[in-house]
């Protein structure tokens, strides 16, 4: 299949440049601080993984946050038991989610369509309820699993890592994982994750997944056993989620059960659809948009709105502040809901399709021949 004439190399170079320069372009939109940039990277990774399942096979999982949570809990336990070095944490976090994804996927993939969605949702809700209550010895319930001074950290003790006065912080062979170094670490993982996703999209394996989405019945009569394809895709996307979850623990060593709630699963669905399901870049775009809303729009208040619109005449300024006010601050959820509806109604291909339309419009205005929308032709089914 032809996704694009662009070669992998060029796409990767552009992608790497954009990701690593985030602290610079982030300043333009007021997002240049480590925590938000880390979140961009982590949730982009989460959404990329979700997209491998949903975007390629069309199976809509409503329980992916489970794997995010499993990755986080595993990572924090690694910090507590073995070492503050992040390597064991992210490796085991990813593997553990893979195991969970295998079990849940094995059962859920026996059904398709909305039955599959409800099965994943049911598993996720069970995991969440148990983590919140009965499994408290492992998860520390509502407060969330935290590091403590008294943790054994056998590996660190073995290698004689000095015990600090306060809580130890996560590191990658001595490089601290908070602040910008933490972001760059996440960014590198994101780049690797994106590369893997790019390879999958352009492999025969990826093509077969897309074909499953397009017509699963035919795939069976064509001689493919679709179950292992679906299960492997489910596991890969679960492992992405686990990796994202362990990165959350790497940048901030705390894991809470609400990470696994169904609304958290819903969030990644929103991200993927908002950006453009089935496209390479769409989910990343969606993740960035939603996290940006959550962190920046939610903090806007009337005073700041006034200063944003201060370039207008006073009465216009007041009108605009009046209109926008319900959508920012504590109203950012409303903003999200409206935006989301607009995208689903008018742009089934997500924001990416919108951008494609705008680009084509400009091209037409400028006299270029309009191009076929190849890349954004991945709507859900």
């Amino acid at each position: 299949m032809k996704i694009s004439i662009k070669s992998n190399l060029i796409i990767m170079l552009i992608f790497i440049t954009i990701v690593l320069s985030a602290p610079i372009w982030g300043k333009v939109i007021g997002a240049a601080y480590p925590d938000l940039l880390q979140k961009f990277a982590i949730f982009a990774l989460f959404a990329i993984g979700f997209n491998i399942l949903f975007g390629l096979t069309g199976y809509l999982s409503f329980g992916h946050a489970t794997f995010l949570g499993v990755g986080s809990y595993t990572a924090v336990w690694m910090f507590k038991l073995f070492s503050m070095n992040v390597l064991p944490a992210i490796i085991l976090g990813t593997l553990m989610s893979g195991v969970f994804a295998y079990i849940i996927g094995y059962l859920s993939l026996r059904r398709s369509g909305i039955y599959f969605s409800i099965l994943t949702l049911a598993f996720a809700q069970m995991a969440y309820s148990l983590a919140y209550s009965v499994l408290t010895p492992i998860t520390n319930g509502e407060t969330g699993l935290q590091l403590s001074q008294q943790d054994p950290r056998y590996l660190d003790a073995l290698f004689g890592v000095a015990v600090s006065d306060g809580l130890p912080s996560t590191n990658f062979f001595g490089l601290s994982m908070s602040g910008y170094s933490g972001f760059y670490f996440c960014a590198v993982i994101l780049i690797i994750g994106f590369y893997v996703s790019l390879k999958i999209f352009r492999s025969p394996y990826g093509l077969k997944l897309t074909a499953i989405k397009s017509n699963q019945k035919r795939m069976k009569y064509t001689g493919f056993n679709t179950r292992p394809y679906l299960l492997s895709a489910f596991m890969i996307s679960g492992m992405y989620a686990g990796l994202a979850g362990s990165l959350m623990a790497v940048t901030d060593p705390l894991a809470g059960a609400e990470r696994m709630q169904w609304t958290a699963s819903g969030e990644v669905v929103l991200m993927t659809i908002l950006g453009g399901a089935g496209t390479l870049i769409g989910p990343i775009l969606g993740a960035v948009i939603i996290k940006y809303f959550e962190n920046i729009f939610s903090a806007l208040n009337t005073a700041e709105l006034h200063s944003i619109f201060s370039f207008m005449p006073k009465f216009m300024e007041n009108i605009f502040v009046f209109i926008t006010n319900p959508f920012v601050g504590d109203g950012w959820h409303l903003m999200l809901g409206v935006l989301f509806m607009l995208v689903v109604i008018f742009l089934p291909g997500g924001v990416l399709e919108g951008l494609g339309k705008v680009t084509n419009l400009f091209k037409r205005i400028l006299g270029f021949k309009s191009t076929k929308q190849g890349a954004s032709k991945g709507e859900s089914s």
Binding site: Y205, A211, T222, T226
Partner: protein, 254 residues
């Protein structure tokens, strides 16, 4: 004599309806065998029982000496029995080229291959094979088009191409020319004849169009109300009074 496909005593009921009643049918290697019969005679049910979509209540389906009943659809495909669907079962969201490459991949990769790091663009063997079959069907100009945007006739041709690219030892064709214009139908007949000359592929065809049936079939079986009422050469069938009564007579009335 050994048969490539042997259907013995197959029964299938839906609720109270006896769709197939003690059906026996032998397909010889290399022949083109047509199954005809009025609507609701059980033709499609019979095909579905062969490819694993339905499981007969009793009886056996033996293909190349192996029992097919209870086998998964994908295993039946790899055993060499491939079906072409009446209403096109293509991949509507994919390009024409992809639509043909996927069955080619199935032939090469088996029921499951995990190769996420191979480049699709490097699969030259598959690509060339697909392009060549698209040329045979005059679809090569549309290789980049999304399948759902094609005309119905082109979809039917694509459907045929998807079946043929797997080089099956037995091809089950469910009304391959339904909905085609006359000259498309003729092209298809030529194509199927050509295929027989080149590969000697055994075919079972379900067809309403008697023109197609009599131009292609070596032998014909007539199915009515779940029973095989006659099997023989086209000439035998033409002259069989039972057939006339059950089928041809009816169609003349229409």
């Amino acid at each position: 004599m050994s048969y490539i496909l042997e259907i013995k005593g197959v029964n299938k009921t839906f609720g109270g309806l006896h769709a197939l009643a003690d059906v026996n049918l032998q397909i010889e290697e290399g022949e083109t065998h047509a199954i005809i019969g009025p609507n609701g005679a059980g033709k499609s049910t019979l095909l579905n029982c062969c490819i694993g979509r339905l499981i007969p209540d009793s009886g056996s389906v033996t293909f190349n000496g192996k029992n097919m009943i209870g086998m998964e659809a994908h295993d039946i495909n790899h055993a060499g029995m491939v079906r072409v669907f009446q209403t096109p079962e293509i991949f509507p969201d994919l390009s024409i080229l992809d639509n043909v490459m996927i069955p080619a991949l199935a032939k090469r990769d088996g029921t499951f291959t995990f190769n996420p790091f191979k480049k699709m663009a490097d699969q030259h063997d598959i690509h060339d094979e697909a392009m060549s079959i698209l040329r045979d069907f005059s679809l090569d100009d549309f290789a980049d088009h999304i399948a759902s945007s094609m005309s119905r006739g082109n979809k039917r041709r694509l459907e045929l191409a998807m079946g043929l690219i797997q080089h099956p030892s037995l091809l089950l064709l469910d009304e391959p020319t339904a909905g085609m214009a006359r000259h498309d139908t003729n092209n298809t007949i030529e194509l199927l004849k050509e295929m027989k000359r080149q590969h000697g592929t055994t075919k079972v065809i379900i067809e309403h169009d008697m023109h197609v049936v009599f131009s292609l079939a070596d032998r014909i079986s007539v199915l009515a109300r779940g029973h095989i009422i006659a099997t023989g050469t086209p000439d035998d069938i033409r002259n069989d009074p039972k057939v006339k009564e059950a089928y041809l007579g009816e169609s003349e009335d229409e």
